[in-house]
């Protein structure tokens, strides 16, 4: 690996770090519209990461991944969610299960966990692969954390999609992922998005709210 490709990998990691920072931003935001904008930014950073990987790996099919991320996740999904929030008249502050500070600390702990996990698994890999895997893994775990610590269905969906951003980040960093997989992931996200939208309407129709805690009583848990 020459000096030029070394620095271009470092650039890739910097973009990956931007995706991770957006993951933390998602945990930090308290307003629904800010959460959606941050998610759009994360998707934008993901598209940049995919585009950069396409450039340095000389793999044109990754440009399609970048395009998919840009069009679907940075534009259509945030717009649709904005529209849904507007349409459903959802309360615009984010309700959290834990305080924001504790969520952020848990997030850093998860990044530490993913690094501890990645280090032994990739003992034979180079430091560069290790770093990109650790980054992607952290983004996935932060998405999970977001799903756990938010009451509202919309923010949980954003958490799910952030998790999925992490998966794509891992996929584009590893060499030789077939395009079929990516396209199917992208479309399944879109389908999932549509389904979530329908579910939002259904949930609200039945319970007059999108706070999923109200579903617990329905399930018979907290009586």
């Amino acid at each position: 690996m020459g000096a030029i490709s070394q620095s271009s990998y470092e650039m890739a990691h910097l973009i990956g770090a931007a995706v991770l920072m957006a993951g933390f931003q998602l945990l930090y935001q308290r307003r629904l519209s800010a959460v959606l904008n941050t998610f759009a930014f994360q998707a934008l950073a993901l598209a940049a990461a995919a585009g950069w990987q396409a450039h340095i790996q000389n793999a044109p099919h990754l440009y399609i991944t970048a395009g998919l991320a840009l069009v679907f996740k940075a534009m259509i999904v945030p717009f649709a969610l904005h529209w849904l929030v507007e349409r459903l008249g959802i309360h615009k502050t984010v309700e959290t299960a834990m305080s924001i500070g504790w969520t952020m600390i848990a997030g850093v702990a998860l990044v530490g966990l993913s690094i501890l996990l990645v280090l032994p698994v990739t003992a034979n890999a180079t430091a560069l692969t290790r770093e990109s895997l650790a980054l992607a893994m952290s983004v996935v775990l932060l998405g999970l954390l977001m799903m756990i610590t938010r009451h509202n269905a919309v923010t949980q969906v954003v958490g799910f999609m952030a998790l999925e951003n992490g998966l794509i980040l891992a996929a584009v960093s590893a060499k030789g992922m077939p395009l079929v997989v990516e396209i199917s992931i992208a479309f399944s996200v879109l389908v999932a998005m549509t389904l979530f939208g329908i579910f939002f309407f259904r949930i609200r129709e039945r319970f007059d709210t999108l706070d999923l805690q109200n579903l617990d009583t329905f399930r018979g848990d907290r009586q």
């Binding site: 920072m21 924001i100 690094i115």
Partner: protein, 320 residues
């Protein structure tokens, strides 16, 4: 230029330039808000005017109140004098240290807070208490940034860190990016800029720094305001020097000193960096609203966590 001469130039440069930077930030902000705004040179006139005026001291004030402006200004000035701006060839460079820098800024802050409480007015005490709350959150973050920088370069001296980075010792590192983000957040808090504190406000409930220096007048106020301006310059020199050190003159062994041309380039680069950073600060401050006091912990906790992440990622990229 010899190290002694460069040091003397540096000492006076930071003080001479500081009001201009503050004035420029104010000018850009007023333009963005649709006002004409005062000339960027206005802070010089303000300080000159304050120096002419009589210093009024409250009856209840002790010697702490009178000493605080001098201690604060000297601590900040000393800190600014050792951060390389245009050359790393400074006489005091061996004494410069990021941890000492945090301590000097802490000293200045401690004395300002003492002075705020000394007179016994409600606002001074409130400002001091808030300032200490911000300090207790910002200082760990600043130290964390220092640790990750020193882990990368193997030294806590800003001069050597800059020389190390200029020498190509570090590529584009994830840790450097995270440390930069954390340092910018700390700098915003330390300088009392929006969203933490509003330097232009005199609204009772929102002021922090202004509340502490409310009782000052005349030359005391000039020193306190000067200290705030020099602190802003210091953080610009620190951020510009460590994360964009290009153009800075580095003494090379084959040209023993006397490299005036490189130092001129370094000076021009420093001015350009300050210009860019000040404009960026003004744009950022115009775009964002001030934060509630109880959200400071989240903001600065975020800076601390970013610093922590920077350190963690060092172990990923450097381990084994």
């Amino acid at each position: 230029m010899s190290a002694v001469l460069a040091q003397i130039v540096q000492i006076f440069l930071v003080v001479a330039l500081a009001p201009l930077i503050t004035g420029w930030v104010r000018k850009v902000k007023s333009r963005l808000q649709g006002r004409i705004g005062a000339s960027p040179l206005q802070p010089y006139r303000d300080i000159y005017r304050l120096l002419q005026k009589e210093a009024v001291v409250a009856h209840s004030a002790s010697w702490v109140f009178r000493a605080a402006p001098y201690v604060t200004f000297s601590a900040v000035w000393l800190a600014a004098a050792v951060i390389p701006t245009f050359t790393t060839n400074l006489l005091l460079a061996p004494a410069a240290d990021l941890i000492a820098l945090v301590a000097l800024l802490g000293l200045a802050r401690f004395w300002t807070a003492l002075a705020g409480m000394d007179v016994g007015t409600a606002f001074g005490g409130m400002g001091a208490s808030r300032e200490m709350m911000i300090a207790s959150l910002a200082e760990p973050a600043m130290l964390m940034v220092s640790f990750s920088l020193s882990l990368i370069s193997g030294t806590t001296s800003p001069t050597q860190i800059i020389a190390f980075i200029l020498g190509g010792g570090v590529g584009i590192e994830v840790s450097m990016g995270l440390a930069l983000a954390a340092l910018i957040m700390v700098a915003i808090a330390e300088n009392g800029r929006i969203p933490i504190d509003n330097p232009a406000t005199h609204l009772e409930l929102t002021m922090v720094h202004e509340a502490m220096v409310l009782e000052y007048s005349g030359r005391h106020l000039a020193l306190m305001e000067g200290a705030a301006m020099v602190r802003l310059t210091l953080f610009m020199a620190l951020i510009g020097g460590i994360f964009a050190p290009w153009g800075m003159a580095v003494p090379s062994p084959e040209m023993s000193g006397a490299n005036v041309l490189a130092e001129m380039v370094g000076l021009a680069a420093f001015l350009a960096k300050c210009f860019v950073l000040a404009t960026a600060l003004a744009v950022f401050e115009t775009m964002i609203a001030k934060m509630r006091v109880f959200r400071y912990a989240d903001f600065l906790g975020g800076a601390l966590l970013l610093g922590l992440l920077a350190t963690i990622f060092l172990y990923v990229s450097e381990a084994v």
